[in-house]
């Protein structure tokens, strides 16, 4: 080996990296020139002087440092080495920072998806999953009944007492229901929501009062029917416990309220306790109250002595620790078997007791809308994931060369996959963090939009379990979005494989599949929205058979002490109505309980008298003169009710609807026919019995949809108000001008100042509010569908612009060779339409399967409505076509001779790549 070869070998060791190679090349050139000029001996001496030069040593140091740095950034640390995680995070972060636009769009997409999911989950967590806020709240069970045909029923007083006496529960209590009534302090009535309970109520829930005491057995008293109806009888004072909020709002949090006596529903009640903050009964939503009750009072009736088929009681029991629900149900089965064997009333309709956990029953009405919401928002997240996976795939193929270098430097496939995965973990984490930041605002928005039926909304918030959910979602997102790019990275080819004219077929296929998935998901979401939208439109175009515009309703809280008899009640109605008619704009007014859209009462009605008469299950509305006119329900035959009809408490008259008339007397006129309905009668002691009363039909009116404009009512009977004089009368008023509550109160107060008059509501407003669940679903599913559509179209745009970018050179050349521009664009657009069409077909199938689940929300439109499906198809193809047209146009319009590096695929992404290639070459090439 010559001396100069040794010198060059030494230099090669001393000066690493591309810069070292260059320096050695420069030295070699000078060496060759010197050798020609002065001969090998002198040249060799010069060369050794160069090797020994102090600057060569300095250069060696500088280049080694630089080489080490470059190499570190390219070699993937070994598995298990401490710090490998940090390395991945740093490298991933560097990669993301280098493409800020791409990174920002990925993070924002994920943040929207994750934020929306977090918000929906926080609602689900609060409404369905959080345990009831009572000590061992998960041990509380709710008892109800089912009868023949699986109709759900409440319990009668005696049935509930038998449940309480059984061994099913550690402790149990009866609940009699909510009553919206009035409380009078200083002669001013104010509205009050009471919950009538039994004395064990607080003990069973396991919560002690904050102030004073709860109920004790001695607070209960039983009045005879005579005492109940006697206006002169002085009732004993009842016991009442305040909810904390009511204590603060109504009594200013004054501790001296204990012992105070107030008038509730005309009866004296003494405040004996105040419950701690946050305490309220969380009862099943079917009880119809979403507002927390203000006070708890005790029933003055002897419930256990009520008729067995008068069922209006619920029971709540505490299940002993360690006992499961099925053994409780077994015990209750024994009780109801005994009940059926012993009592004819229970056997007649095959009454069975049922038990469930109170918590699951409380959220039962919310489950449907929330499941729908979770599905919609889950779809949005899936679309977002597909979108992000596409973007990361694009990025992975852009990094192909860099990954190839890493592979050549010894990184395993697993390490490269991990590197790609670390990027998706990073973007998912950033998206998750931004999503959590967005979540509280989105949650508030959801709670504001939520229909009143959703219980426990006050418990909704972003808490630890919500954060855990978000973390889980974020991790899944990282995995779902990262796995494809990771696989793509793992198969990166070594560098120098040569530039391709357009992207690989596999790449394009993966992109197309992802876009297809996005389109499929978007089709399902948009179809759901379309169906809901059509339902809402159909709902608005229904004629319910009565007037909702310009009709106003309000209630008067007539109490038993102030109006104990029928004549005094009828007199009150008449005087209020006469005064109201003097008000300018008021055209008709009357009493109807319940009024259309405000509730429904049902009863078996006998056609004729006696037990042999056939029965019709009917809706009935207790009605006074003027109400049918105020509602604009068309009279078909006979007449409506008059004041004369109401004079006699025992002679009852009714107007029936056409549906009832057809059912009861298909071949003859309904006028003058007789029907009978049960009326509750009170004995001298505490016994109660129901008597069938004779009712004469005086008129026939058109049928209406008063329960829900989306379905027919049952056959309806408008029976004289005297049939059941109790309860709160609802006044229905037709007025050309809006009717302020103050005007109504003024007129009513002239007649009698004692009854509390509720706020006046228009039937139009009530009708809108009743569409709450549909509107909630539509608003949110619509918003999510919009978001999904936007994401899907950006996905289509992104993939196509990338694919077009890869094919740009090809398209340019073809355009330069004279290919028609429009034809080239069409070629690109056609491929987009093909992907979209296949996504559309799968989406249609999926929508056909999934929209069945929103059937209950749909009205007058089939879940397979062809018009909606077709509309969605046209919309998506249009969006995808436009998304493809833009990049296609851009591609062939660019100058084909536009210099080097025109395609996205070969554009340098940073200075690291030439360095990397050189390092690899210097390592791979044989020494000189």
């Amino acid at each position: 080996m010559s001396r100069s070869t040794v010198a060059f070998r030494l230099l090669r060791r001393l000066l690493p990296g591309p810069m070292g190679d260059e320096a050695i090349d420069a030295l070699a050139e000078r060496y060759r020139a010197r050798r020609l000029r002065s001969g090998p001996m002198r040249a060799s001496a010069w060369l050794w002087l160069q090797v020994a030069h102090p600057d060569t040593v300095r250069l060696s140091r500088l280049l080694r440092r630089r080489y080490r740095r470059d190499l570190e950034s390219l070699t993937v640390p070994a598995h298990g080495r401490f710090g490998a995680l940090g390395w991945h995070a740093r490298t991933g972060m560097r990669g993301l920072v280098r493409r800020p636009g791409l990174t920002a769009s990925i993070v924002v997409t994920l943040a929207l998806g994750i934020g929306a999911n977090t918000a929906v989950f926080s609602v689900i967590d609060g409404v369905l999953l959080e345990p009831l806020p009572f000590p061992d709240g998960e041990q509380l069970a709710y008892v109800w009944g089912v009868t023949e045909g699986d109709d759900t029923e409440l319990l009668s007083g005696p049935q509930a007492a038998e449940v309480m006496a059984s061994e099913a529960f550690e402790a149990a209590t009866m609940i009699f229901g909510y009553v919206g009534t009035s409380m009078v302090r200083d002669a001013t009535p104010e509205p009050l929501l009471t919950l009538t309970v039994q004395h064990r109520f607080f003990d069973v829930l396991g919560v002690a009062p904050l102030l004073g005491r709860g109920f004790v057995a001695g607070d209960e008293f039983k009045l005879t029917n005579e005492q109940m109806r006697d206006p002169d009888f002085v009732r004993p004072v009842g016991a009442m416990v305040l909810r904390y909020g009511a204590w603060i709002d109504r009594f200013g949090g004054d501790p001296s309220v204990l012992g105070q006596i107030v008038e509730v529903s005309g009866h004296r009640q003494q405040i004996v306790g105040v419950m701690p903050p946050g305490f309220r009964a969380h009862l099943p939503a079917e009880l119809g109250e979403t507002e927390p009750e203000d006070v708890w009072i005790m029933s003055p009736f002897d419930q256990p002595s009520f008729p067995r088929d008068t069922r209006f009681v619920r029971a709540i029991g505490r299940v002993p620790e360690g006992r499961d629900l099925s053994s409780v149900q077994d015990e209750l089965d024994r009780v109801s078997a005994w009940q059926r064997a012993t009592f004819g009333e229970d056997a007649r309709d095959d009454f069975h007791l049922r038990v469930t956990w109170l918590q699951s029953e409380t959220g039962s009405t919310a489950r449907g809308p929330l499941a729908l919401l979770l599905t919609a928002v889950g779809f949005v997240l899936l679309i977002a994931c597909a979108n992000v996976a596409t973007l990361l795939l694009v990025r992975a193929s852009e990094r192909e060369e860099e990954l190839g270098v890493r592979r050549a430097l010894g990184a395993s496939r697993a390490q490269l996959a991990l590197l790609a995965l670390s990027e998706s973990v990073l973007v998912a984490t950033l998206g998750g963090m931004l999503g959590i930041a967005l979540a509280p605002a989105l949650t508030t928005l959801l709670v504001d939009l939520a229909p009143a039926e959703l219980p426990r909304l006050d418990m909704v918030g972003v808490d630890r379990s919500v954060l855990a959910f978000t973390a889980l979602v974020t991790l899944s997102v990282a995995f779902v979005t990262g796995s494809l790019p990771a696989l793509r990275s793992a198969v990166a080819a070594p560098p120098g494989a040569g530039a391709r004219l357009s992207g690989s077929r596999r790449e394009r296929r993966t992109g197309s599949v992802l876009v297809g998935i996005e389109v499929t998901l978007a089709v399902v979401l948009v179809t759901g929205t379309g169906l809901l939208l059509r339902s809402l439109g159909n709902t608005f175009s229904v004629d319910p058979g009565f007037r909702t515009a310009d009709v106003f309703v309000w209630e008067a809280n007539l109490t038993t002490p102030s109006h104990p008899t029928w004549p005094s009640r009828a007199q009150y109605f008449r005087e209020v109505q006469e005064r109201m008619l003097t008000e300018p704009g008021v055209r008709a007014v009357g009493v109807m309980t319940p009024a259309p859209l405000t509730g429904v009462e049902r009863s078996e009605v006998r056609v004729g008298m006696g037990e042999d008469a056939s029965t019709v299950l009917a809706d009935f509305r207790r009605t006074g003169p003027g109400a049918i006119e105020a509602l604009g329900i068309d009279l078909r035959e006979g007449r409506t009710l008059t004041w004369t009809d109401l004079e006699d408490f025992d002679r009852l008259y009714a107007v029936v609807d056409e549906r009832f008339a057809r059912r009861a007397w298909p071949t003859e006129s309904a006028l003058g026919q007789v029907i009978s309905m049960e009326r509750r009668e009170y004995g001298a002691g505490s016994e109660i019995y129901d008597e069938w009363k004779r009712i004469e039909v005086v008129g026939v009116v058109e049928s209406i949809r008063g329960r829900d404009v989306r379905e027919d009512d049952l056959p309806t009977v408008y029976v004289s108000y005297a049939q059941n004089m109790w309860g709160r009368p609802v006044f229905v008023t037709h007025s050309d001008v809006p009717l302020p509550s103050s005007v109504v109160r003024q007129h009513a107060a002239v007649v009698d100042a004692r009854p509390l008059i509720t706020d006046v509501a228009s039937l139009d407003t009530i009708a809108m509010a009743r569409l709450g669940a549909l509107r909630f679903a539509l608003t949110l599913v619509g918003a999510f569908a919009g978001l999904g559509l936007l994401l899907a179209s950006t996905g289509v745009y992104g993939v196509l612009s990338y694919a077009v970018g890869r094919r740009e050179r090809e398209l340019n050349i073809r355009a330069a060779l004279g290919a028609d521009g429009a034809r080239l664009s069409w070629e690109v657009v056609r491929s987009a339409l093909a992907i979209t069409a296949s996504g559309l077909l799968v989406g249609w199938l999926a929508a056909g399967l999934l929209t069945r689940f929103i059937r209950t929300l749909l009205f007058d439109v089939s879940p397979l409505d062809p018009l909606t499906y077709l509309g969605v198809g046209v919309a998506l193809l249009t969006v995808a076509g436009s998304a493809a047209w833009l990049p296609a146009r851009r591609a062939w319009r660019r100058d084909p001779g536009g210099g080097p590096a025109v395609t996205q695929g070969s554009r340098p992404t940073g200075s690291i790549r030439p360095v990397a290639s050189s390092i690899v070459k210097s390592r791979l090439s044989p020494s000189m």
Binding site: M19, A26, Q50, S918
Partner: protein, 102 residues
């Protein structure tokens, strides 16, 4: 920061050469101006240090088959390099002001 004279000369050469500022040409330019031969490693040490200081930047041309598949590295002044060079000239001009070389 004050530039050494070799650094100044290298930067001026880079500035003068424009797109042709390859290390070899820079060396020849400085050698021509000073009339002295420099060690190859001296020129590289100077350029590498200037690059590390952010005063020059280098880029490699696409691979050249005539150069064994390697590209050529050429240098360019960064804005910081330009301002440093200008600053040095002003300092020198101020210091030279009123001084007459013998």
């Amino acid at each position: 920061m004050s530039l050494g004279s070799l650094q100044q000369m290298a930067m001026l050469a880079v500035a003068r050469l424009g797109d042709e500022a390859f290390a070899k040409v820079v060396q020849e330019e400085v050698e021509a101006a000073t009339g002295r031969e420099l060690a190859v490693s001296t020129v590289y040490v100077t350029l590498v240090r200037l690059e590390d200081q952010g005063l020059v930047t280098s880029e490699t041309t696409p691979p050249d088959p005539l150069r064994g598949g390697r590209g050529k590295r050429f240098f360019r002044l960064t804005p910081a390099g330009w301002s440093e060079l200008r600053h040095t000239r002003e300092v020198m001009a101020r210091l030279w002001d009123g001084v007459e070389p013998a």
